[in-house]
Amino acid sequence: MADKVYRLGCDIGGTFTDFVLLNDQTGEIKTYKCLTTPRDPSDAVEDGIRGMEKYTPDFVEKLDEVIHGTTLVINSIIERKGAKTGLITTKGFRDVLEIGRGIRYAPYDVFAEFPKPLIPRHLRFEVDERIRSDGSVLKPLDPREAKQVVRAILKLGVESIAVCLINSFENPANELMLKEIIEKEAPEISVSISFRVLPQIKEYERTSTTVTNAYVKPLTGRYLSKLAKRLEAIGFKGKLFIMLSSGGVTSVETASEFPVRIIESGPTAAVIAGQFYGRLFNIPEMFCFDMGGTTAKSCLIQKGEAGVVPTFEVGRVQRFMKGSGLTIQVPVVDLMEIGAGGGSIARVSRLGTLQVGPESSGADPGPICYGIRGMDPCVTDADLLLGYLDENYFLGGKMKLDKEAARLGVEEKVARPLGVKFIQAVWGIHDLINETMAAAAKTHIAEKGGNPSLVTIVAFGGAGPVHAYGLAKKLGAPRLLVPPNAGVGSALGFFTAPRAFDLLRSHKVALTASDFNEIEGILKELEEEAAKILKKQASEKDIQFERSLDMRFVGQGSETNVPISGRDFAKMGREEVRRRFDEVYEKLYGRTYPDSEVEFINFKVRASLPERLIQFQHINKTGDSLIKAIKGKRKAYSPKAKDFIFYTVYDRYQLFPKATFKGPAIIEEKESTVIVGEDGSISVDDFGFLWINLKNE
């Protein structure tokens, strides 16, 4: 073990595959980027590792862990490239998947489209069985009928089968029987049963989640086992982990069994990195802000913890419109994503005002200044024209930007049609996208009970540090934090992610009528199941369990999660449980109603292994003069002066610990540029992080 000093984080994104190599002994961090290879993403992983070997020879043998995040699963859903999948459900309910919950997400738009179910109707089959809501059997499943149905569905050439029966979360016997029959009839077929994927009440949400799991299971399994083999072939002998949407990491086996849990594995890393910084620097309220080419993703982190929500949507047909995607009910980090990025397009709206985003020009054709084929002015064009970006130092000078073309584009497509001065248009694009992000951020922060004027904003992504100052101004946030390598720094989250797994079981029963022995049994079972999963990924015996209950007032529509201690539930008093619920409820909603009856809905267990910490490398540079770091001065726009003023341009690689300086400043690094206005003062800490304090009126 002693020589296994490295850990590698590897994130497959839409355009680039990012690598971060950590030396646990020295704290040294190295990054690498290569183009994603959509046909076989493991090609890029191997290419990248080979590329990194040039700079760090023989690190592969010394790798203890590879932690992997991928957009493979989400892309196969969005592009509908999953397996041909069949569904077996209870008689009378084959349309549950298609009927959904019936909300029109755009109430005034009669032409709004809805996502098509992943399994078309002719591949949805029924069996004549029925479980009651209390788990008792109303109609048993006839094994002969079950076999016939399985054969009929196999005849249609499916590669994967989802099984979701009504009320199965209370009694899985019939689902298990079907699984057994399928495995006997066709051992090569992939099976997902709802009791394993999501044993939770509400048939649409459970079916949709199980079906999504089944849809991506074959390709995820193939990909992950191939990746594992390739890593082995190049000499990797450590453990391979996969990032979960909930912020934990898990084994290849578990990820292959429940691929629906790794859908958001990519963007989650930034949040985990944010959590880590939150704890490292003891920041009580942090707003993690990751702005890339097409979207901005953000998340409020309170006391070092990001919220985890039980449900999200994937494949929205109307980008960013809540309700226009497929519902997936697995724990996922509470991430807000809006259509605001460097590629967001500026145009004149129907109302004769400026509109920026959510449409994006993406990487190709890209903003006008890229000079690829872009014809529409974008946020990046405005950032360039405002002087925030240097046409000769984009991506460290790898890509020359065309300022003149950008100027013409903004003039023709925005300034002239709006009848405003050129500079108003350029600043307007930058300012409006900030306003859009601020509006979304405020709502997100309000929903979590946070306060925007107290948050520290941590900026990630290529465009994050360019816009963070403007965003902070709009939120009234007092402080900005820009980690080194902000463009890829989010991948650090891979190293700090807890090895944890969440399981739950629905069982609705009133507190007063519940059997605490039975509940202890359920919790124990969940713990054993979770322990089995964790044991696959590590030999550590010290697995920790956290128990919680989803409770609500009888008849209420949504539940409140109540954490409880790990001691024997059967020995707890009803009053004690009730008191816990009232405490939590009051904290969340300001008041509680002790006279109204409460009930249990779900029982939850989170199993986790101790966190592995990372030790950042202290920068050994010292210095007393910033002269070497100053590249010069550049005219850039100041909203305060309403004019171009001189900003001092710094080379981030030449900064040293304890250096302090004041805005207006532009700090350049390869992957991004930090903009600081007149009201900001910057200080560099021992790890090379930039701390920017804002003076707000």
Binding site: F93, N167, E205, R350, L418, A425, G590, Y593
Partner: protein, 582 residues
């Protein structure tokens, strides 16, 4: 700053105003008690300028409430002289005629002051789960329907009027929930007011008036530009809405006059008000007229007073679409929801690409099941249900949605865990979509069994229904055929879909929600689409042949081209003959 704003500043400030309401909206999600609010989002937050003109409303507002509120708040605000409002005042009312048309919709409204000057009003309407009274659609007047709160001060200059709170508390069945939700309304208004002042302060503005003028006039201009594209003229349509057995259909007569960029809707000649809860107040009628016009001419532009400016609605008092106090109004949706499709029909000839055929989710179906369990414990469940949406000239109708209203269904597993009922089926209804070049959306069938074993309840089980379309099917458009009718069967025998039905253990209730109307001649539907529909079981082989003239091979499920050509030819001849010789 003040006067005029350049278009960029305007957009930024405008967005800020919308985000102010969205913040208030999410405060509701955090504080509201009942699931009707939290899960089905049956509430609307908005604010107006100091003249009562709506400036912004929550992005997820429900059409019925939001349209009615825009009008209602303007009227309320102008009722009192402006100088009588004081900081800290909070008003409350559920007057159906003043706001959203039934007693359950309670409005809380507050004036907003900035630097001592009145600058805005903020208001929200919540659909409360209970408001007392007799919960049924066959009441004869509004007095039977529950507590009526006229416009009163709940807070007077910041001081709570406890008597009003007590009066409400003692008149509802679920006081903790109702009072809790009223407090949540106060909190939402508070958030909204705070944020408005913050926005004024940050931007150095003294008031909202100039900003309001520009937002409203730009919105109005945009709506008018779209309306202007419609040729001037007078367009008419009529809607027939069924009533209880033995009563004549309610008729809604509509004349839509397009004059330049103005739309004048006149409902003269519509039926007089009825002696049950189906009566619609002017505001609610207006809301669904507005829904039609907004969805046609500006579905994506933010809602404010400017959207409404081009629209004039005339509805004679005493008719079912402008009922007089004290008419019963609790079941207003049974008639009110039809306004949207009637306007669509009137304008379909001149705006063919902006409308859809009639929908099976008009009106929304509402079922209230209640009774006692074997052990004497009462149970109660409210379920709403949509049908197939109408097809448009360019697309098939969506399956099973409530339209023009909106709302979520209740999961089968939740119903079964809350009640003794067993749900045997919730499925799409084959062949229920109106045939057309574009097919109407499919309706759905739900089957409920009342168990007679040890799990069963006591007899009787009561079932209250608000619904429609049992007699008049949702019509097609441009030669499309109607969708399937709604059905209500008890043990296979048609029951009475109005009022209350008493059931007993062992009974099986089947409820079909109607399908949407088709659009265009079904003989012109591409055979491949029909093939797909047959493969998926949306259309049967027989109907593919009879309604669409498409022959599909019963085993391969592929189109038989030659047969189809012949079939369509002979059907066309048959139709032509029918036309000549009816």
């Amino acid at each position: 700053m003040g006067g005029t704003f350049d278009p960029i500043t305007l957009e930024i400030l405008w967005r800020r105003l919308i985000s102010v309401v969205d913040e208030a909206d999410s405060a509701v999600a955090r504080t509201a008690f009942s699931s009707l609010l939290r899960d089905a989002h049956d509430y609307t937050c908005m604010f107006t300028d100091q003249k009562g003109r709506e400036l912004a409303q929550g992005s997820f507002a429900t059409p019925g409430q939001s349209g009615a509120m825009a009008l209602g708040i303007k009227n309320l605000v102008t009722k009192l002289p402006l100088e009588t409002y004081e900081p800290g005042d909070i008003f409350i009312t559920n007057d159906p005629w003043a706001l959203a048309g039934h007693l359950n919709d309670v409005c809380v409204m507050s004036p907003v002051f900035y630097n001592g000057k009145l600058v805005a009003f903020t208001a929200c309407v919540f659909h409360h789960s209970d408001i007392g009274g007799r919960v049924s659609s066959d009441n004869h007047d509004v007095f039977e329907e529950g507590l009526f709160i006229p416009l009163v001060k709940l807070y007077d200059g910041g001081i709570l009027n406890q008597s009003v709170m007590d009066m409400i508390r003692w008149n509802v069945r679920t006081p903790d929930e109702v009072i809790g939700d009223i407090r949540s309304q106060i909190a939402a208004n508070h958030v909204c007011a705070e944020k408005i002042c913050q926005m004024l302060r940050e931007n150095g503005l003294d008031h909202l008036d100039d900003l309001a003028d520009q937002i409203i006039s730009r919105t109005e201009k945009s709506m008018r530009e779209e309306i202007e594209k419609i040729p001037d003229g007078i367009y008419q349509a009529e809607g027939m809405i069924e009533q209880m057995k033995g009563q004549q259909d309610v008729v809604i007569k509509t004349t839509v006059e397009v004059k330049g960029s103005d739309i004048i809707v006149n409902l003269n000649g519509s039926s007089p008000q009825v002696n049950w809860g189906g009566n619609v107040v002017y505001n609610f009628t207006y809301a669904y007229v507005f829904m039609a016009i907004k969805s046609m001419f500006g579905p994506d532009i933010p809602n404010n007073d400017g959207c409404a400016s081009p629209i004039t609605l005339k509805a004679p008092e005493g008719t079912v679409v402008n009922c007089k106090f004290p008419a019963a109004v609790a079941a207003r949706l049974v008639i009110g929801h039809f306004l949207t499709e009637i306007i669509y029909r009137a304008l379909s000839g001149v705006a063919s690409n902006k409308v859809i055929a009639a929908s099976g989710g008009t009106p929304a179906q509402m079922n209230v099941f209640y009774g006692k369990r074997r052990n004497g414990k009462p149970w109660h469940s409210v379920i709403i249900r949509g049908g197939g949406m109408g097809a448009s000239a360019s697309s098939d109708g969506h399956y099973v949605y409530i339209f023009p209203a909106n709302g979520a269904n209740t999961p089968v597993e939740i119903i079964e865990s809350d009640t003794p009922l067993i749900i045997e089926k919730r499925e799409l209804l084959v062949d229920s979509g109106g045939p057309g070049r574009m097919k109407g959306g499919l309706g759905q069938r739900e089957v409920f069994r009342i168990p007679d074993d040890q799990y069963g309840p006591q007899s009787p089980v009561n079932l209250g229904i608000q619904a429609g379309r049992h007699i008049h099917a949702p019509e097609g458009l441009f030669g499309g055929n109607p969708g399937a009718r709604a059905q209500f069967l008890v043990n296979g025998v048609p029951g009475n879909p109005f009022g209350l039905t008493q059931l007993k253990p062992g009974d099986v209730v089947t409820i079909d929600a109607a399908g949407g109307g088709g659009c265009g001649n079904p003989m012109e539907r591409e055979p491949e689409r029909v093939e797909r529909d047959v493969l998926e079981g949306y259309v049967s082989l027989e109907k593919a042949r009879d309604d669409y003239g498409v022959a599909i091979h019963p085993e391969t499920l592929k189109v038989e081209e030659e047969l189809t050509r012949k079939l369509r030819e002979s059907l066309k001849k048959g139709n032509d003959r029918k036309r000549i010789d009816p």
